[in-house]
C-alpha cells in the first residue's frame, strides 16, 4: 500500500477513488486479506481443526509457567497491537476517497474487537462438532451488522467508541474462560442430547456387512471422518437464512438476495470443510504427516486420494439435497414461491423455455461442482504435509487478493479495460497453455512414479476430454452470438474442468507418505 502511494506521489498524478468499487479494489481488498491472515495467525487457526469440539488453543502452551490470564491475554495483546498498526498504516498511506473524513480510532477498534472475539471463539471448547463455525459466523456477523447500521445512521465517533470499546475486555473475559476450560481438559459434551440423531447417523453409516473391497472401506472411512461435516454445517445455517424469506414478503430483490446467499452457502462452508479434508492425518492437529494407521493401509496413493474424492462427492450431494429440499419447502411455506415463479416465467419468455431450463441446470451444476471443487482443490497442497508449503500457499492466496485490487483499479483508471478485453483470448490461451504444461508434467511424474496405471491415466484423460467437449457444446448452444468466438468458449471450457491440481494430489500424498 505504501509502495502504491509512493508510486502515485512520484508520478505526481492524483488518483481519485470516489466510487465504492475503486475504494474496495485498492484499499479494502488488500486490508481485508491482510486482516484475515492476521486473524488466522493470532487465533492459532492455521494448525487447528475449526470443526472439532476441542479448543484450538495449542495444548503445548498449557504447560508453560504462565497464568491462564496471561495465556489468553498475551496473544490477544500482540494481536490487537498488530491490528492497530495495520489500521494506522492504512489510515496514513491508503488512497482514500477525496474529501472524505476518515476517523482515526474506531475502525482500528472495530478490527481489534473482531480479532479479540475470533480468538475467544476459536479457543473455546464446544459441546458439539461444527458449533464453533456457526457461533463465529453468527456472532462476528452481528458485530459487523451493528457497526454497519451505526454507519448507516451516521453515528458519531464517540458513539462508535462506546459500542466497540467494551468488546475487547468482554472478549478477553470469554477467552480467559475458554483457555481455562481447555487447560483443565474440560470439553462440554451435548452429544448425549442428540442421542437419537447420533444413533440414526451412526446406524446409517455403520457397517454391519463386510466391505466388498478395500477401496470401499477406505471411502467409508473418509466419509465417517469428514463427509458429514459439510451437510451438517449447511443444515445448521440454512434455517437462519431461509427464515428471512418470511421477512422479505413481496420484495423481489430481497428474495433473490436470500436465495443467492443460500446457493452460495455450500461452496462457502466447503472452504472450511476443505481444511480437514485436505489434511493427510485426520486426527493430528499439530502434525501434517500421514498417520501410520493410514500410511500402512495396503492401498496405492491414488486409491487413498480416490477415497477422499468419492467422499467429497457424497458430501456435496448430501449438502445439496438438503439445500434443494429446504429451499422448496421455505418458498412454499413463506408464500414467496409466487415471486420466484413469476420471475422464472418472464425469464423463460425472454430467452426461451429450453434455454432457460439449461441455464438453470448449468447454474445449479456450477454451484454443485464448485462445492465439490472447494472441498478437494487444496488437496494437492494439504496432502504434501509440508507446513511451509501449506502456510506459504495461504500467504500466496492472500497476497494475490492484496495485489488484485490495486491491479484491477489501475486497469480501470488507465482505461485499459478495452485492451484487456481484446487480450482476453491471449490471456486465456496462456492460462490454458500453463494448465496443459502442468498437467503433462504431472502426468509424466505419475507415470514414471507408477502412481497411476496406464489404463487409469488414459481413462482419466478421456473423461476430462469428454467433460470439456460437453461443456463446450453447451456453451456454444447457450451463447450463440457472433460476438464471442467459438475458440474462446473452448478455452473457457478447458479452464473450467479441473485437471492439474486434482491430478497432483496422488503426487503430493506420495511425497508425504514416503518421506
Amino acid at each position: 500500500m505504501v509502495t502504491i502511494k509512493l508510486a502515485v506521489l512520484a508520478r505526481g498524478r492524483p488518483i481519485y477513488l470516489d466510487s465504492p468499487e475503486s475504494f474496495g479494489f485498492v484499499v479494502m481488498g488488500p486490508v481485508t486479506a491482510t486482516f484475515t491472515y492476521l486473524l488466522a495467525v493470532f487465533s492459532f487457526g492455521l494448525d487447528g481443526d475449526l470443526g472439532a469440539r476441542r479448543s484450538m488453543y495449542p495444548t503445548r502452551m498449557f504447560t508453560r509457567p504462565l497464568t491462564t490470564g496471561a495465556l489468553a491475554g498475551l496473544p490477544m495483546l500482540y494481536g490487537i497491537a498488530t491490528i492497530f498498526v495495520l489500521w494506522l498504516v492504512t489510515r496514513l498511506f491508503a488512497l482514500w476517497p477525496t474529501g472524505s473524513h476518515i476517523p482515526w480510532l474506531w475502525p482500528g477498534l472495530m478490527l481489534a474487537s473482531l480479532l479479540a472475539w475470533t480468538q475467544a471463539l476459536t479457543w473455546m471448547p464446544y459441546p458439539l462438532p461444527g458449533l464453533r463455525i456457526i457461533v463465529a459466523v453468527l456472532w462476528l456477523g452481528t458485530i459487523d451488522t451493528i457497526a454497519i447500521l451505526a454507519l448507516h445512521f451516521n453515528a458519531r465517533e464517540s458513539l462508535m467508541l462506546g459500542i466497540l470499546a467494551p468488546q475487547i475486555p468482554l472478549a478477553y473475559l470469554v477467552a480467559r474462560f475458554a483457555v481455562a476450560r481447555a487447560r483443565r481438559g474440560d470439553v462440554p459434551d451435548w452429544r448425549g442430547g442428540f442421542v437419537r440423531l447420533a444413533q440414526v447417523a451412526d446406524a446409517l453409516s455403520r457397517r454391519r456387512e463386510h466391505f466388498r473391497s478395500a477401496a470401499r472401506a477406505q471411502a467409508w472411512f473418509e466419509w465417517r471422518r469428514h463427509g458429514r461435516s459439510l451437510p451438517g454445517w449447511v443444515a445448521i445455517l440454512l434455517p437462519f437464512e431461509l427464515v428471512l424469506l418470511w421477512v422479505a414478503g413481496d420484495s423481489n430483490s430481497l428474495v433473490f438476495t436470500i436465495l443467492l446467499a443460500v446457493l452460495l452457502t455450500p461452496p462457502f462452508m466447503a472452504t472450511f470443510a476443505a481444511a480437514a479434508v485436505s489434511k493427510s492425518s485426520p486426527d493430528a492437529s499439530d502434525s501434517y504427516g500421514v498417520n501410520p494407521f493410514i500410511a500402512t493401509r495396503p492401498l496405492t496413493n491414488a486409491e487413498l486420494v480416490a477415497a477422499k474424492l468419492k467422499m467429497a462427492v457424497w458430501s456435496t450431494i448430501a449438502a445439496w439435497v438438503l439445500v434443494l429440499i429446504a429451499v422448496a419447502l421455505a418458498l412454499e411455506l413463506s408464500g414467496t414461491a409466487a415471486v420466484v415463479l413469476e420471475r422464472w416465467h418472464r425469464f423463460s419468455a425472454v430467452v426461451g423455455g429450453p434455454r432457460a431450463v439449461v441455464l438453470l441446470l448449468l447454474i445449479l451444476w456450477g454451484c454443485i461442482a464448485s462445492t465439490w471443487t472447494q472441498l478437494v482443490q487444496s488437496m494437492y497442497i494439504g496432502l504434501t504435509g509440508r507446513a511451509a508449503l501449506i502456510n506459504g500457499s495461504v500467504v500466496l492466496v492472500l497476497g494475490f487478493f492484496v495485489l488484485f485490487g490495486p491491479f484491477a483499479e489501475w486497469i480501470v483508471e488507465t482505461r485499459r479495460l478495452g485492451e484487456i478485453w481484446s487480450a482476453l483470448p491471449l490471456i486465456f490461451a496462456l492460462l490454458v497453455a500453463l494448465k496443459m504444461i502442468a498437467a503433462v508434467w504431472i502426468g509424466v511424474r505419475l507415470y514414471e512414479g507408477r502412481l497411476l496405471s496406464d489404463r487409469t491415466l488414459v481413462t482419466g484423460a478421456a473423461c476430462w476430454s469428454v467433460a470439456v467437449f460437453a461443456l463446450y457444446g453447451v456453451l456454444i448452444w447457450l451463447l450463440d452470438t457472433p460476438h464471442i468466438p467459438h475458440y474462446l468458449l473452448m478455452l473457457v471450457a478447458i479452464l473450467s474442468i479441473p485437471l492439474a491440481r486434482l491430478s497432483a494430489a496422488p503426487l503430493a500424498l506420495a511425497w508425504n507418505r514416503h518421506r
Partner: protein, 257 residues
C-alpha cells in the same frame, strides 16, 4: 499371499548400505541387514538409536536416500500394496481411529487383507476380552495395544513388525504380545521383526539380535552366538550387559576415530 510366495532362499528383508539424515543428524549410517524367512529378529537400541527410522524404511514410510530396501524382493515405496498387504504392523504410538467401534475396526481392517481369518480374529478378540460395541477411544492403553495386535495378526501376515510394542504397558499385556509372537513363530515360515529396549523380552523370543547405536549396527548375530562370545569367567553375560558393553565400545571407537 503366503510366505511360500517369497522365493526360497530370498531374504524377507534386505537392507543394503542404508543411510538417512534428518538435517544435520545421521539417523542411519550405512545400515545393512538381511532377514531370512522364519527368523525372529530382535532389534535393540537406546531411544533415538535409529530403530524406528529403520522400521519406517521397511514399511515404505521413509524413502531410502542412499542405499536400498527390499521387502519380499519388492521396493516398499514403489509397491506399497505388494509389501504392506503381507506385513502386520503394531506401532508404539497408538494411532488407531478412536471414533470406531471394535467391531467396525475389525470389519474395516478385514477389507484390506484377502487372507483375513475371521475365526482367528474372533478367537483373538475373545481372548483379549475386547467388547465389539466398545469405542476404541474408550479402551485402556493395554486394550488398545491388544486391539492393534489383533488387526496385525488376524490375516496371518508373512512378516510381523512390532515397533516397541511393550512400551509403557503392564506385564499382562506384555505377556499377551510375547504370546502372540510365539504363536506367530509357530506358524511355519512366518517372520518377526521385534524392536525394543526391554532386552529381557528380546532374549525370550528372538533367535537373532541386531544392536543399533547412533544409527550404526554395532552387533548383529544369532542370540546363541552372542551369548557364546560374551562369557566372562564362565558366566554368560545378559543381553543388558552385552548391550552396555557394545555401546561403550562403539562410543570409544567413535571418539578414537
Amino acid at each position: 499371499m503366503t510366505a511360500e510366495a517369497t522365493r526360497v532362499g530370498e531374504p524377507v528383508i534386505d537392507v543394503t548400505e542404508l543411510t538417512r539424515r534428518f538435517d544435520s543428524t545421521t539417523a542411519l549410517d550405512s545400515v545393512s541387514l538381511s532377514m531370512p524367512r522364519g527368523a525372529v529378529y530382535g532389534l535393540v537400541g537406546a531411544n533415538g538409536a535409529g530403530k524406528t527410522t529403520l522400521i519406517k524404511h521397511i514399511l515404505g514410510l521413509l524413502r531410502a536416500e542412499s542405499g536400498s530396501v527390499r521387502v519380499f524382493g519388492l521396493d516398499p515405496v514403489a509397491d506399497p500394496v505388494g509389501v504392506l498387504s503381507r506385513i502386520g504392523y503394531l506401532s508404539e504410538e497408538n494411532d488407531l481411529p478412536g471414533w470406531m467401534r471394535v467391531d467396525e475396526l475389525i470389519r474395516f481392517s478385514r477389507a484390506f487383507y484377502p487372507a483375513w481369518d475371521d475365526a482367528y480374529a474372533e478367537e483373538l478378540r475373545q481372548s483379549f476380552a475386547l467388547e465389539p460395541a466398545a469405542k476404541i477411544k474408550s479402551l485402556s492403553k493395554g486394550q488398545k495395544a491388544r486391539m492393534g495386535l489383533l488387526i496385525a495378526l488376524a490375516y496371518r501376515p508373512d512378516l510381523l513388525v512390532l515397533d516397541e510394542p511393550s512400551s509403557g504397558l503392564d506385564p499382562i499385556v506384555r505377556r499377551d504380545i510375547l504370546g502372540a509372537i510365539i504363536r506367530t513363530i509357530a506358524h511355519e515360515g512366518r517372520t518377526v521383526l521385534f524392536s525394543s529396549h526391554l532386552l529381557e523380552e528380546v532374549e525370550q523370543v528372538a533367535d537373532h539380535v541386531t544392536m543399533i547405536n547412533k544409527g550404526r549396527i554395532v552387533l548383529s548375530a544369532p542370540l546363541e552366538d552372542i551369548r557364546e562370545a560374551h562369557r566372562v569367567d564362565g558366566r554368560v553375560l545378559s543381553l543388558d550387559e552385552i548391550f552396555v558393553a557394545q555401546v561403550g565400545m562403539s562410543a570409544a571407537a567413535a571418539s578414537e576415530s
